[in-house]
């Protein structure tokens, strides 16, 4: 077990290093002189040259890479070429926002998926199960941003119940914060919930087929009761894994949803940073996202070993 953890950690670290190199080398090849774009349409040649000097853009790439990584490790991604502000605090703020969005969406997704998926599995083949399955299929087929647009059209404009976007920090105005969070989290969560529910369904179906459940049912328990007593723990295994794998998809969905609802999260930051050719900021954001996914995968791997006793032995 310990060896396994060590190996996994080693792999994790290696992945971090390799991805940082990939991100840096790729983005360093961006066309569009970042200094010129940072200064705008009417900038003079001297100003552009001066900015390049100031940010060390004329140094060899390897030096720039090493500096960057060192900075990141120390928690200082540097200063933006465009806004001259420290990237670190800005990134932290944005990250918080996206975490709220993604976290709430995940909760909604799980709250939808577990009961729905279980029901679909238990009523497998019956009308209610089929209906739910059909709905979940449609849910999967609808992109998160389409769901977002439709939710805005209905709840924000038609009914006026909820705002169409924007963001207030929870400490400032908890009520407004919840209202603004509702629709975007719902847009993301509904779609994710539909996806997740199908995994739950198949996991539960598999578990229902297992021998010990058949024994339980032979004893006279309904499928539901049998599940509750014995099977759900095992059903959780693929769900946890999928949640981890789905993180990438959630982040992608968050980028578009943030655009539709005008939420100042990392998704929007990334899109603006690319448009502004804010090279360092793009690097920092991409790196953070990649690290997030790697970390979650790493944690899921470890959790997997904990949840599934069969694996632990192996």
């Amino acid at each position: 077990m310990l060896l396994r953890v060590l190996v996994r950690s080693g792999v994790f670290l290696a992945s971090l290093i390799v991805s940082s190199v990939l991100v840096f080398w790729f983005l360093a090849g961006l066309p569009g002189d970042p200094a010129r774009v940072a200064l705008g349409v009417n900038a003079t040649e001297e100003a552009v040259a001066a900015l390049r000097e100031e940010f060390g853009l004329n140094r060899p790439l390897v030096t720039q890479y090493v500096d960057w990584v060192g900075g990141m490790l120390a928690g200082d991604p540097g200063r933006s070429y465009v806004s001259k502000a420290q990237i670190g605090p800005q990134l932290a703020d944005r990250l918080q926002v996206t975490l709220w969005l993604v976290g709430t969406a995940t909760v909604i997704a799980v709250l939808i998926a577990l009961p729905a998926g279980t029901l679909m599995a238990v009523r497998h083949g019956r009308l209610s199960g089929l209906l739910l399955a059909a709905m979940s299929q449609v849910g999967v087929a609808v992109p998160a941003f389409l769901a977002g647009i439709l939710l805005v059209a209905l709840f924000a404009v038609r009914l006026g119940w909820l705002p169409s976007g924007g963001w207030t920090p929870p400490v400032e105005d908890p009520l407004m914060f919840l209202q603004q969070l509702a629709l975007p989290a719902l847009a993301l969560g509904l779609v994710q919930g539909a996806v997740l529910s199908r995994y739950v369904r198949s996991a539960v179906i598999d578990v229902l087929r297992e021998d010990y459940l058949r024994t339980a049912r032979a004893k006279g328990l309904t499928p539901f009761r049998a599940l509750r007593r014995h099977g759900l723990r095992n059903a959780m295994v693929p769900v946890v894994t999928v949640l981890g794998l789905q993180l990438s998809t959630l982040l992608v969905g968050a980028v578009v949803v943030e655009r539709v609802f005008v939420i100042p999260g990392v998704g929007n930051l990334l899109l603006s940073a690319v448009a502004d050719r804010d090279l360092l900021l793009v690097q920092a954001v991409v790196m953070v996202l990649v690290v997030a996914v790697l970390v979650v995968t790493f944690v899921v791997d470890l959790l997997y070993a904990v949840i599934d006793p069969r694996l632990r032995r192996g």
Partner: protein, 264 residues
């Protein structure tokens, strides 16, 4: 199967569009702007007077094309990698799996943004980005399948009798995992369609004068209250395509699964 029917519908529409569409899809026709459903324009027109039916038909081409290229790229690279990982030395297997996990950390959208930024966003960058992001799924599936096949009696016999790895791969592994790969292809196609729609919505996919469902969605936003059908039409098209591929994948999986059980 419902899935096959839906996918078939999309494919037929796309094929027909090569020969005939009610109107030239990108033809600006100002007097005919924002018309509703009618006999002349079955699905109405947009703010430029372009016929929605024609745009949907040609857009089907784009959608299928992007999906096809992306999935092909992913399969052509992912499957051999997966088989290699299963059949080769274990360190290679580990390396391939770790590398594919790494790629998983770069969602398709992220890659597409990066590619688009460097090379200028276009259909091509979208396809390649989605393709690269899908490689891990194929590698995984191929490896899992190959491992299973390796344990079968046929293969064990072949190995004992000294057959080369390549021969075994060719004669036993690939044919037996083909069904798994096809199922994965169907599922990945659905994901590719969604990804392309999102990219076009963000303006990072097909260029303006190429009809695309995602771009139609983006252009519909401005007119959501004046003409909601402009969002519904491409939205339904996307949903149909994705639904179709998902159902197809499910159906294929149900069909082939028992076969695999037997192979054991």
């Amino acid at each position: 199967m419902a899935g096959a029917a839906l996918v078939g519908l999309v494919v037929v529409v796309a094929l027909v569009s090569f020969f005939w569409t009610p109107y030239a899809p990108m033809r600006v026709d100002s007097p005919s702007r924002l018309l509703g459903f009618s006999a002349e324009h079955w699905l109405g027109t947009d703010k430029f007077g372009r016929d929605a039916t024609s745009m949907i038909m040609v857009g089907a081409r784009t959608t299928l094309f992007v999906g096809l290229i992306a999935v092909s790229v992913a399969a052509l690279i992912g499957v051999p990698l997966g088989v290699l990982a299963a059949m080769g030395p274990s360190w290679l297997g580990q390396l391939v799996m770790r590398a594919s996990d790494l790629v998983l950390a770069f969602p398709a959208l992220l890659l597409a943004i990066m590619f688009g930024a460097v090379y200028g966003a276009s259909t091509l960058t979208a396809m390649i980005a989605i393709g690269i992001a899908t490689i891990p799924s194929f590698a995984r599936v191929a490896r899992a399948g190959a491992l299973q096949v390796m344990r079968t009696e046929y293969v064990l016999a072949a190995r004992v009798s000294g057959r080369s790895r390549f021969a075994i791969a060719g004669r036993h592994v690939l044919p037996n995992i083909s069904s798994l790969v096809i199922v994965q292809a169907s599922v990945s196609f659905a994901i590719a369609v969604l990804a392309e729609a999102a990219l076009s919505f963000l303006g990072l996919g097909t260029p303006p004068r190429t009809p695309s469902w995602g771009r139609m969605l983006q252009e519909s936003q401005e007119l959501l209250f004046v003409a909601p059908r402009l969002a519904v039409v491409p939205g339904v098209a996307i949903a149909i395509a994705v639904l179709g591929f998902n159902l197809l994948g499910d159906g294929l999986r149900d069909r082939y699964d028992p076969k695999l059980e037997q192979a054991r």
